[in-house]
């Protein structure tokens, strides 16, 4: 107790410093760059017969809480596309951290009586039952990217082509190796989260297509779709393969870390192919100043398309370019290869 006056002065100083630091820090949470960086991918469809306003509809939307760029872009795109329609009311629920949380969130969505639900499930298998019950209740379900096993559980399924991504990446690498005259190339692969089916499909497409050319993957590391794990796995892979001819990285977001590891290791003797098609990756390919020479798309623009199609389904209209009176049941996007030559066209689709 005898030190109390001294302590209180010190506490005042420390407390004041802490408050000051806190005040400075809270000012540092902004990510607003000042310029308009809203790069959502929308189709404003000026000359499109489908763009004409129709019946007023409510679209319910649910996607997992985003922890990386691709999912964040999905949610942003869906919202931005819905905003372009005067006849759409857009209701979104955060899907929380897992399938159970998403199921609960979807129940609150149903109680708001949407005309159609657009859903990116945590796991297609786990939410299959929800799709079935919503369809039976007369609410069409648009499954975004993660398929339900049961065909009765959805009205429309729109998804990317994971196997095709691997095929496209391998096809590009095979062509590059043939052009360079490398007969037995050393090929590395940085996969995404290994427990996801989509990662397995991508790797299978990659390995199958390489095998047709007589090539194989020399080393495969699985990261977790984050830049820091991408860096660690790439550092390990580069150490394991002192000489490398080609590298496929499944995801451009984790690719930030992969490219960091490559420059930290001072390596540049190989060509790298990315995945998904982020804006940064497309810009790097266009600038052509790193090992990244191509990326294969898995575009979150599919969320924009899903909203457009959900609106047509709710309004009972078909796609104006097609003969059919209704929207088709399944759409799988092609995985396109972006190189320096066509990067300019794809910049607007980068996320």
């Amino acid at each position: 107790m005898r030190h109390l006056p001294d302590l209180s002065r010190r506490r005042l100083l420390i407390g004041g410093a802490a408050l000051g630091a806190g005040a400075v820090l809270t000012g540092c949470t902004s990510n607003d760059s000042g310029d308009d960086d809203n790069n959502a991918q929308v189709n404003t469809g000026n000359n499109n017969a489908n763009a004409a306003p129709g019946k007023q509809v409510t679209i319910g939307f649910s996607a997992p809480a985003a922890d990386h760029g691709w999912i964040a872009a999905i949610t942003n795109n869906a919202k931005a596309q819905a905003d372009t329609y005067s006849d759409v009311e857009f209701k979104t629920v955060e899907a929380g951290a897992d399938a159970a949380a998403q199921r609960a969130a979807l129940q609150t969505l149903i109680s708001q009586k949407p005309d159609v639900i657009v859903l990116l499930p945590h796991d297609g298998k786990e939410l299959n039952a929800f799709g079935l019950s919503a369809m039976q209740a007369g609410i069409p379900v648009v499954n975004l990217d993660r398929a339900f096993p049961d065909a009765k559980a959805y009205r429309l399924q729109i998804k990317g082509d994971n196997y095709g991504m691997g095929v496209s990446a391998a096809a590009y690498i095979v062509a590059q190796m043939k052009a360079k005259g490398v007969s037995a190339p050393v090929i590395g692969e940085i996969a995404g989260m290994d427990e996801l089916e989509l990662t397995q499909e991508r790797s299978k497409g990659f390995a199958d297509t390489l095998a047709q050319a007589g090539f194989r993957v020399a080393n495969r590391r699985a990261a977790r779709f984050t830049a820091d794990t991408g860096q660690q796995e790439a550092a390990s892979l580069l150490q394991a393969l002192p000489k490398l001819d080609a590298l496929w990285n499944h995801d451009d977001d984790q690719g930030i870390g992969v490219l960091a590891a490559i420059s930290q290791a001072n390596r540049s003797e190989f060509v790298m192919v990315g995945g998904a098609g982020s804006k940064a990756a497309i810009e790097a390919i266009q600038a052509d100043n790193s090992v990244l020479k191509a990326t294969v798309t898995y575009s979150p623009s599919m969320a924009s398309s899903a909203i457009s199609l959900a609106r047509l389904i709710a309004q009972g209209r078909g796609m104006s370019d097609l003969v059919e009176l209704q929207v088709p049941k399944e759409i799988t996007l092609a995985s396109e290869t972006i190189t320096k030559e066509n990067a300019g066209n794809y910049l607007k689709l980068g996320f």
């Binding site: 990510n31 985003a66 922890d67 820091d228 550092a235 394991a240 977001d253 870390g257």
Partner: protein, 346 residues
Amino acid sequence: MTTTQTAAPPANEKPAETRSWWRDDASEPLRRNLALFAVLILLIIIGIATRPDLYSDSTWVRNNIFTILELASVIGVVTVGMTFVIIGGGIDLSVGAIVALAGVWSTTLATQSYGAGGMIFCALAVGIGVGVVNGILIAYGRLVAFIATLAILVAARGLAAQISGKQTQVSTNTFINDIAANDLLGIPLLVYILAAVVAAGWVLLNRTTFGRRTVAVGGNVEAARLAGINVKRHTLLLYALSGLCCGIAAIMLTSQATSAQAAMANLYELDAIAAAIIGGTLLSGGRGTIIGSLLGVIVFATITNLFAINNLSTEVQNMVKGGIIVAAVLVQQFRYKSLSQLFNRA
């Protein structure tokens, strides 16, 4: 200035024994560290046996050592803080989340506009700040450490996601990015940072009253309190120290990945606890060494490296890691039965 005059002796220390400091806490930690070192040698021998083509190149071997140490550097810094918390009788499950929050907060466009100094200050201040919140909840709010830090884990990851808008924030600051890319005298800068943190941690634990009090508080809280240690304030400082280590780790990890995001440093709490445990830190507190924790981290990093150079999958690697943790804890249980007894029987 301080309210206590003498550091309390560790509760279980035999009185009136005049031994020099390195034998003081029994030679058992030293033996354990030697055992870990033997495991390390074994792993390297397995590496040489499975990939003689790589190990025959001396430049490659040198690079590989630094690759392992760089892989161990971030988690190593976190583990130093974790070791203090565990020795002090607590646990900090929020370290991974603090690294992510500090990383994200220090790479917002607003923070990056203040340059490298601003980013480093921000990361350290956020780390210490969250650590202090942990400490207040545990020491003054009387929450169980497991619960309090679990709550902060969830909240800090949430805040990180909120600040980052769930996007990956790229660091455009070349000074920060160069930390992971540059060497000094042929040794990567990250390895120097790890060495500095480990050295500071060692001195703090072994050569200061703060360190001795940590052991006392973790060994027997009541005895430490009766000996005049301000247990609450000390507990608060331990969590702040862990937070500081997370802040340093956040800068290192941001530099390595040249970016930060809310999901970064995933499950680092488990890696740090595991490394401390196999390094001989008693989960119930009162015993542990910084060197043991460092060796624990390096053993795990070497296993990862061994699996990478042999192109083995992560699943198998995780099973092996789990096995090593179980083995280490089993050995720990034999501790009181005296290892020498076991050896004599053999």
